[in-house]
């Protein structure tokens, strides 16, 4: 049998998770409603609503601080249903493989070189001035 404190922590965890889900789903649905006026995806609108709450409140409520990182850590699983759609595009991917390789590999590496060079220039300047 579970000891009393353990039952208590389990219950506390459950309440924290339910609370977090209510906040996240609430902000997302509000963001969805806001999409009618602000032409941005529901997730971005929801994120700004929640961010605004944090900024106004001045800190992140304890239960959200505990639970959200756990959810974000397992976000990969929630992508899977959407990614499965790629199965339906197999033929198209075969047909365009060269264009895709060029567009994905070359441009990604080129962008990395560019960002690395610019960041190094700017951040090195910070180091010099701060010393």
């Amino acid at each position: 049998m579970l000891s009393k404190p353990r039952v208590y922590t389990l219950f506390q965890h459950l309440v924290q998770h339910i609370g977090t889900l209510i906040v996240l789903i609430g902000a997302y649905e509000l963001g969805d409603v806001a999409s009618a006026i602000i032409p941005l995806p529901a997730t971005i609108n929801g994120l700004f609503i929640l961010l605004l709450v944090f900024v106004v409140y001045g800190k992140v409520p304890q239960f959200l601080n505990t639970v959200i990182p756990v959810y974000l850590g397992h976000m990969s699983m929630f992508f899977v249903p959407a990614i499965m759609a790629v199965w339906l595009f197999q033929q198209a991917v075969y047909d365009h493989w060269l264009a895709l390789v060029l567009a994905l590999v070359l441009t990604t590496i080129a962008s990395m070189v560019l960002v690395m060079w610019v960041s190094n220039k700017l951040l090195k300047a910070t180091d010099n001035t701060s010393r």
């Binding site: 889900l21 996240l24 789903i25 997302y28 963001g31 969805d32 032409p39 941005l40 995806p41 529901a42 997730t43 971005i44 929801g46 994120l47 961010l51 944090f54 959200i68 959810y71 974000l72 397992h74 976000m75 990969s76 699983m77 929630f78 992508f79 899977v80 249903p81 959407a82 990614i83 499965m84 759609a85 790629v86 199965w87 339906l88 595009f89 198209a92 365009h96 264009a99 895709l100 060029l102 567009a103 994905l104 590999v105 441009t107 990604t108 590496i109 080129a110 962008s111 990395m112 070189v113 560019l114 960002v115 690395m116 060079w117 610019v118 960041s119 700017l122 951040l123 300047a125 910070t126």
Partner: protein, 240 residues
Amino acid sequence: MSLSSVSSAFGLTLSDISHAAMWIVILVLCYGFAIRLAKWTNQHVLAHPILITTTLVLTFTQLIEPDVQRVMTHLHPIKYLLGPLTVGLALPVYNQLPILRQLGVKVLLPIAVGGLFAPLSAFSVLYLLDAEPAWQLTILTKSITTPFAMDTATMLGGIAGLAAVFNIITGMIGVMALPSVNRWLQINDDKANGLVLGTIAHGIGTSKAVLLSEQAGAFASLALCVNGVGTAIVLSVLLG
């Protein structure tokens, strides 16, 4: 009130619910295995849980119910939850606000340069090679965090599933190419590495940056947040 009357009130049959439950259990088990595998291989980029889980679930669909579209319908509750979880990114964004205030344009500029160059260059390649317009629009989202990429792609008239795939491949290339870029430019600085990984390789890059150092991780999260939100807004406003 019986279970069947509850389910019919939502326009669902019991078979729908049991199929959904079965596929969600399969998905969770495959994911559980995938994170084990990632741990065993010391977080190797090719053993990324998204890649392994998707491959396993698709294998199961071929064995159990070859109609991928139907299985995707069964997994709809999981797909829905991605939205609210993405909203949870407000927490890391909030935590990065102090660095942003402190360094301002010095970090914003490299992120903006990468945030503009990466999608535009990829778009140009597909445009010049005459790929379908939906693909051209989809690839614009390749460097922003996957949930934003999927949402933004849908909004632009692209294909969400394809956006996720382009996105994940981009993230993996970013992680694999970093050592060569370091060597070629002879720059190996935690802040620059973090900004590069977060801006170009989004979430996959950020998880790599966290392994490099705490500072690289912080800069990568900042870049991921700023580029994700920024690109999503710019694309939605310009093309949505």
